[in-house]
């Protein structure tokens, strides 16, 4: 199963990942539209992003969430009704929503953030 592996210890809070992600998945420069989020807590950076656990798949009332061939959990926006139950039920709070966007969004393990990270804190991996 493909997923984005994070190494928070390497993170220096550059947040290039957020910009790359927002641009890639939502065509925006607004970091609030990024599926990956970096936060600083007591001088230590934390990285929050979907780990592809799939808990959201069974929560969805319209079967809009499913795994693709690589095991990545994907949202079919055509089916999605924007109810955001997947956002509320995500065990790691990694399903995102934004007032400009009707449907939620999440990490699709595309690797854009990993390529943008100058500290190699992110990588696409298998588990």
């Amino acid at each position: 199963m493909k997923y984005l592996k994070t190494t928070p210890a390497k993170c220096k809070g550059v947040r290039a990942c957020e910009k790359a992600c927002a641009r890639t998945i939502n065509k925006s420069d607004d970091p609030a539209k990024s599926a990956i989020r970096v936060t600083a807590k007591d001088g230590v950076f934390e990285i929050n992003v979907c780990n592809q656990c799939g808990a959201c798949i069974d929560i969805c009332p319209v079967k809009a969430l499913s795994r693709n061939k690589q095991g990545v959990v994907m949202l079919d926006r055509k089916l999605c009704v924007g109810c955001l139950m997947c956002v509320g039920y995500c065990p790691t709070l990694s399903m995102r929503t934004h007032p400009d966007l009707r449907e939620p969004f999440k990490c699709i393990a595309c690797g854009a953030c990993a390529r943008a990270c100058p500290e190699q804190a992110l990588e696409i991996a298998e588990k």
Partner: protein, 735 residues
């Protein structure tokens, strides 16, 4: 379980093409489809089945300001449609389905409700009933804030609203079933283009028994994309299904557009989203620790009611029973399929609409069929179960199924069956009088057969039971069956409507919560038993009156906006009980703020918590005047049967002798020693009936009514509903 499991159900689709081909279009109307703007489409669809005329009405700003939507719109349209002399089966009686401005948002739990309003056959005053499933939202997204159906067809017809094409038709449809579990499936398949489109179709239907009784319910369906089956939710109370069938409506089909998260075109989508995600998260964090709605729905309270002596047992004689464990959540968690998203509208993370899958029926025309049964919910488990002395879950489920498909209100049916079974216990009924039905406590088969009789329009079921307890007690007395006083005492009804399924004997506030209501004793307005009886948070008459002002007004608001009550207080923020006083905690202030955010976020009209009450009160007072206009709405119609107030019989008294004797000492300062049970019962009756009247006085005062229960002119003015015809309805009673 595997959420993608394939269930085996009996299907009713053989010959479906032939059924569709047999339709004949009798009338057609073209319109331009539109989505709501800030929650409103600003127009209503009107269908007259007598003239076969279909038309539109404009919804103006004044209508929205005064009546908000939902129940408010329904009552206003009904007021305009009927006269004070109108009877329920007159052609001018109107069925109004209105979803309300918030209805159809997908982000917040419980936001797919519609309100159905009509002149009730069982009470002869307006009834409003709150129903889930997809029809209301799809109606709105097809372009209409409400649908009115007036007139009466001369033969069975269906009304079809094609919300994408912009076409409304009245069609002859002779081959489909009238019974709801079949009709819902057949019409859904006929009008959906394919499997993916089935969720965009919703069907309203009643059933055979609605034709032959006064307690017919209206089913709304939705297509469950995981189970691949149509499911039913009910506008249960007050005989709406009876009116539907009396108009010769077989079904109403709404085929709307595919739903997205912004179809209400809200003023501030982000505000709606934030409130929704917050509640989804609360559900995720606390439901397992609080009400377990996601696992067992409202049946979670069967064991709670039983523990507090509040579960109706044997026509509300008793409040608990050792066998209640067979119909409590420990049973339902096994019977309900677990792990499937079970909301009756998108985004309901409370997900209480549980189903018993592949249920094999033992009786009636569908004997041997395997079906999905929606529920039972608490009311059905208590009403059709413990209240009839029935503790075998099979019969509760089968009764639930046939009530739904035949179009019968499970609450009225449960209270009716409890009443006739007590009449049997007391010798008022016997085999000869019931035509062979042995209506003994616990006889689930007899209960089912009584319902099959209703469906066939024959026997005791149709002639007596289907007429409701109000008419039955008079018919029995007229036949010389039983003592009139006893019949009045044990018939759990007010204004003609059967009481819902909680014991109110030990909670004065709940006696008011049931019987000081606009449409009769239901739990839609106020549920105060815990605040009052268990926690003693509203000890004085004034405290109780304040609760009987605030909660009915607040809860009315759900029905104005297309919302479900359950996500308000069947889940609470984690700090609700610590951050607030007990009295404030009962209001769940943080959730009230959510509703402020939802209304303001959708409509763009900024409101406050106080305005929620003001919006509701306008409609509530209007409904009270409407009752008055139809010949009720005065003090004499707010009385409670004594079974709801205190112990009617010796057995009841003695079952709680210790408690009642102590009350004699504590409340009445009377020493029970040496007194016979009859003497003690008489003391209780005098005390409790007097106490109820004092409560009535306090509540009327708080609501701005006269001693006879009439809203004063000042009350009408304060609420901005002093329209000439409203004032005219009130004035003769103010002299």
């Amino acid at each position: 379980m595997d959420v993608n499991k394939v269930f085996e159900y009996t299907r009713y689709l053989d010959g479906i093409e032939k059924m569709k081909a047999a339709h004949v279009v009798l009338a057609e109307y073209a319109y331009t489809p539109s989505l709501p703007e800030k929650g409103y489409t600003n127009r209503t669809l009107h269908v007259d089945l007598s003239t076969m005329k279909i038309s539109e009405k404009k919804v103006d700003e004044a209508m929205k300001k005064t009546f908000t939507g939902g129940r408010g719109f329904g009552l206003k349209y009904l007021w305009d449609a009927i006269k004070p002399t109108t009877k329920w089966n007159d052609p001018e009686n109107d069925i109004i389905i209105s979803p309300g401005p918030i209805c159809g948002i997908t982000q917040y739990p419980g936001a797919g409700k519609s309100l159905v309003v009509t002149l009730s056959p069982i009470t002869n005053i307006p009834i409003d009933s709150n129903v889930g499933a997809y029809l209301g939202p799809l109606l709105k997204f097809s372009g209409f804030d409400a649908l009115e159906i007036q007139g009466k067809a001369t033969e069975d017809v269906i009304v079809v609203l094609e919300g994408v094409k912009g076409r409304v038709t009245i069609e002859r449809a002779p081959l489909e079933s009238v019974n709801s579990h079949v009709a819902a499936e057949q019409f859904t398949h006929e009008y959906a283009a394919d499997e993916a489109d089935r969720r965009n179709v919703s069907v309203a239907s009643a059933g055979q028994a609605a034709e032959h009784s006064l307690i017919g319910c209206l089913n709304f369906c939705y297509y469950d994309v995981r189970r691949k089956v149509t499911r039913l939710k009910q506008a249960g109370r007050g005989g709406i299904g009876t009116v539907f069938r009396d108009k010769h409506l077989k079904a109403l089909v709404v085929h709307g557009p595919q739903v997205k998260g912004d179809m209400n075109r809200p003023a501030d989508l982000g505000r709606v989203q934030r409130a929704g995600v917050k509640l989804h998260r609360e559900m995720h964090d606390f439901d397992d620790k609080m009400c377990t709605m996601r696992k067992v729905g409202t049946t979670n309270i069967v064991s709670v009611m039983n523990a507090y002596d509040l579960l109706p047992v044997m026509n509300f004689q008793y409040g608990s029973h050792p066998d209640a464990k067979h119909i409590d959540k420990t049973t339902w968690i096994r019977k309900f399929t677990q792990g499937i998203p079970d909301g009756c509208w998108y985004g309901c993370s409370m997900a209480c609409a549980h189903g018993v899958d592949e249920f094999a029926l033992r009786t009636g025309p569908y004997q041997g069929h395997k079906v999905i049964v929606d529920g039972p919910e608490y009311e059905t488990a208590a009403g059709c179960g413990s209240n009839c002395g029935i503790f075998d879950p099979h019969w509760v489920i089968e009764c639930n199924f046939y009530c739904d498909t035949y179009g019968i209100d499970t609450i009225s049916f449960g209270t009716i069956t409890g009443f006739v079974m007590e009449c049997w216990q007391r010798g008022i009924l016997d085999k000869e009088r019931t035509g062979g039905l042995e209506l003994t406590w616990g006889n689930g088969e007899a209960q089912l057969e009584m319902m099959h009789q209703m469906a066939r329009g024959e026997g005791f079921g149709a002639q007596y039971a289907g007429q409701g307890v109000h008419r039955m007690k008079t018919m029995f007395a007229d036949n010389g069956w039983g003592d009139r006083q006893l019949l009045d005492d044990i018939a759990l009804e007010g204004k003609g409507l059967e009481q819902s399924e909680y014991m109110s004997k030990e909670s004065l506030a709940q006696q008011g919560g049931y019987y000081l209501t606009n449409k009769g004793p239901q739990h839609d307005e106020a549920w105060l038993i815990f605040m009052d009886m268990v926690n003693n948070q509203i000890p004085t008459f004034e405290d109780k009156a304040e609760a009987l002002y605030y909660f009915p007004m607040f809860r009315t608001w759900f029905g104005l906006n297309g919302l479900c009550k359950l996500p308000w207080n069947d889940i609470e923020p984690g700090d609700n009980r610590t951050a607030n006083t007990p009295q404030e905690a009962a209001k769940v202030p943080e959730h009230v703020q959510n509703y402020v955010d939802l209304f303001s976020g959708v409509t763009g009209r900024e409101i406050t918590k106080e305005e929620i009450i003001a919006m509701s009160e306008r409609v509530y007072q209007f409904q009270r005047v409407f009752d008055l206009r139809m010949g009720k709405g005065t003090r004499q119609y707010d009385k409670a049967p004594y079974r709801a107030v205190g112990p009617v019989t010796r057995e009841e008294y003695e079952s709680r002798q210790e408690r009642y004797d102590k009350q004699l000492t504590d409340w009445m300062k009377v020493d029970p020693a040496g007194k016979s049970t009859e003497e003690k019962m008489a003391l209780h009756r005098a005390y409790r009936e007097d106490r109820y009247q004092k409560l009535v006085d306090a509540v009327y005062k708080r609501r701005g009514w006269t001693e006879n229960g009439i809203p004063t002119l000042e009350t009408l003015r304060r609420n901005g509903i002093d329209f000439p015809e409203v004032v005219a309805a009130v004035k003769p009673h103010l002299k």
